[in-house]
Amino acid sequence: MSRPPNEKKKQPPFPTEPFGLLLVEGGDEEKLCKAIAGPAVWGSLVCWNARGRPNITELARLAAQDPSFRYARSVGVLLDMEDDPVGTQGLIQEALAALNVTAPFVHGAFVPGAAPRVGVFVSPDGQQTGSIEGLCKQAVRDPALTSCVNALVTCAGQPHTTQARGMKGWLDAYLAMQPEPLRLHQALNGSKVFDLNHVAFDPLRAFLQAL
């Protein structure tokens, strides 16, 4: 049967003046970038959220087909490595192809000479498995609670079978022990839980500033 009109939140339109475009795989990545970029940098960017890692290539294709894409001075793609370096590499190549980039990918760097400049940041650091949770774990503010959560994970027998899942589980446990239990996107709303100026965020911050 027919559905009523789609009321989903829309991606922001592209402006008709130069702008930096950020493509992220999900809402947590968008929240983190907004939190660490600062209002001045964030205000100069347009962020499109793929609402799921598998959608990132189609999102890049849709962005590149938008007539106002020609005003983009640079495009940044933020993906998590997760536990799948090979799959992530394939996803990056597909996204770059959708953006008409044929040059090899270098983590955190922008392809020089291309218009627009295109760069990919693979969290946590372009090498290790994991995700933005790995960066956030390094930037938590409460060392006593950190010790407690470490003890809990040890006591539970390191139940997570991969590094990425371990990071997510650890951070969920930490956020659950806040005075009001939080999800990651809620914790990124202020600077109480995380030190948003922590050096762990510096490479991603520099990537956003270069957009």
């Binding site: 049967m1 027919s2 009109p5 789609n6 991606q11 609402r51 294709r61 849709l62 007539p67």
Partner: protein
Amino acid sequence: MLTSITVENFRGIERLHVEGLGRVNLIIGRNDSGKTALMEALMLARDPRNAIGILTARQRMRVANTSNTDIADFDEFWLPIFHRMDALAGFRIHSTSFADLPLTLAVAKEPVDGPMTIDGLKASVVTPAWTLKATVAGGRHETTSVIDQTATGEKLPTAQTNIPSRWISPSPVIGSEDIRAFSKLKQQGRDEAVTDLLRYVNDQVSGVELLAPTGNRVSVYVRLRREGLVPLLMMGEGMKRYFEFAVSFAATDGASIHIDEIENGLHHSVMEPLWTWISKATRAKSVQVFATTHSEECVQAASRVFKAENDNGLRVIRLDKQEHLTKAVVYDRDLVEAAERMGVEIRG
């Protein structure tokens, strides 16, 4: 079936190229982006040898809404066809298709040099006030047709009897062409297809009749199971539009149908049944459809239906007017579905 089109200097379009046309093409874009002009260009590309007849009919439809401009008045009637009113430069439409060689249609006003002379004598009676020339080039062949305005009136080229395109636009009345076509379907016993489509809007419909209660004009009546015969025009715009769609599809084989503002008068709940029907009807009858819309619901309904039908024939063509170019982006069914899923606005 047309596969690509290039339009130069036609109406508001300075230059436009569309590659990858499908069997069903939904044209979207902001106001004044050239949607209707592209549909007209596609109609000309489908039948370039009848260009002057098509242009005359389209201009009559356009000017009928605003003035009583006469076809003889070149500046009022014909000039708006040309980009920046430059009729001497003319317009060009180049197209490719599965069935034919690439074709180029060029239409321009011929310069008038003054009265023709025969053996030194002025022969002003044969001098046209203006001449509009249409040339179709494809392969080794070139054909030309003209319309002249002379002292004895306009001389239109002979139109082909079988015009392979139909145009449907929102209108408060049912056109005589639709009544003629439906009458023919009745005579051939093929009117059930029309009834079937109308049932998507109202499941009480059991038939459609042509009646002349006053003895003068023939009107279309819908037979409802409970209420009996009801004039079609009393059943709302949606039912009237469905009737026009159904008649056009039923009466047409291997042709193209051009629907302006397809969503006009239709509730979103009848969009999916309409697209289901269009998907099936165009496959069954080898019909190519071009439609314009401003409605996101209409685009989304089309993409959902074509996916459910496993039909790859849908293309959504987005037009954006730029400085000297109208940019066309063609989305296939899957990309339209992805845009809906991720909240990307593709209407411009």
